[in-house]
């Protein structure tokens, strides 16, 4: 069933999403810890190099934040897919219209009348 796939995707995305914020928070708090350590051990801990810091920062913005956004977007796409399913794959009920028959007698009479009107009465 295709819905199983949807469920799996939902689980996956939700997990990623909940991790994303955690990662963001962790990223922020790592700074704090590092700072504390430096205070305690003095020169023991050399602060991260600028390259590392900037890389980590970019990673956070581009990977974690983007992941969060993508996750939300994925779920939004999923709601759209569900909408499409509801509206596009409905089982049509043919009987309502296509089987409705014309009033043959009346129609035939109308056609007769047409002939008379258009061509005059002298034809049959």
């Amino acid at each position: 069933m295709s819905d199983r796939g949807l469920l799996e995707q939902l689980d996956r995305t939700t997990e990623t999403l909940s991790h994303s914020l955690t990662h963001l928070v962790k990223y922020a708090s790592i700074t704090e810890d590092k700072g504390d350590e430096e205070d305690e051990h003095g020169t023991q801990e050399i602060p991260e190099s600028t390259v590392r810091t900037s890389t980590a920062g970019l990673m956070m913005v581009n990977a974690q934040t983007a992941q969060l956004i993508r996750g939300v977007q994925d779920l939004l796409v999923m709601t759209r897919n569900i909408r499409e399913k509801w509206l596009l794959t409905q089982i049509p009920d043919e009987k309502i219209d296509s089987q409705r028959e014309l009033d043959y007698q009346k129609c035939s009479q109308l056609l007769e009348q047409w002939t008379q009107e258009v061509l005059g009465t002298d034809q049959g």
Binding site: M1, D3, V72, I82, Q90, I91, E94, C107, Q113, E117
Partner: protein, 114 residues
């Protein structure tokens, strides 16, 4: 000819889920914003951060639960309301519509004359 009530309901529910997902994003941005403030040394932002983080998880959870329910609805309706696969629907019966329409027109024209 609107869609049946049930489908309207589903769409409404999906809208709510969308809104929740949107809120999740907002809460995430707020949480990051407050964390930023915290890092700047604004310690009294802590409860705010906690609130935003909680809201983030709350809305995410709600959305997920809602989505799960919607998927279940889909599942339950395959076979009764929905086709199991996406088939190419065909625009049949338009000949009937047209013939009816033109017969009506014919009738009107002829009525006017008599």
């Amino acid at each position: 000819m609107p869609q049946p009530e049930f489908i309207q309901e589903r769409l409404k529910s999906l809208n709510t889920i969308d809104d929740l997902l949107l809120a999740t994003l907002l809460h995430a941005s707020q949480a990051v914003g407050t964390i930023e403030e915290l890092k700047r040394g604004n310690e009294n932002m802590k409860p705010q951060f906690e609130n935003h983080a909680r809201s983030f998880y709350n809305s995410l959870e709600e959305a997920t639960v809602g989505l799960r329910r919607e998927i279940k609805h889909l599942d339950e309706n395959v076979g009764t309301r929905l086709l199991p696969i996406n088939v190419n629907k065909r625009a049949t019966g338009q000949d009937n519509d047209k013939i009816r329409e033109q017969f009506d027109k014919l009738e009107n024209e002829l009525k006017e004359s008599s």
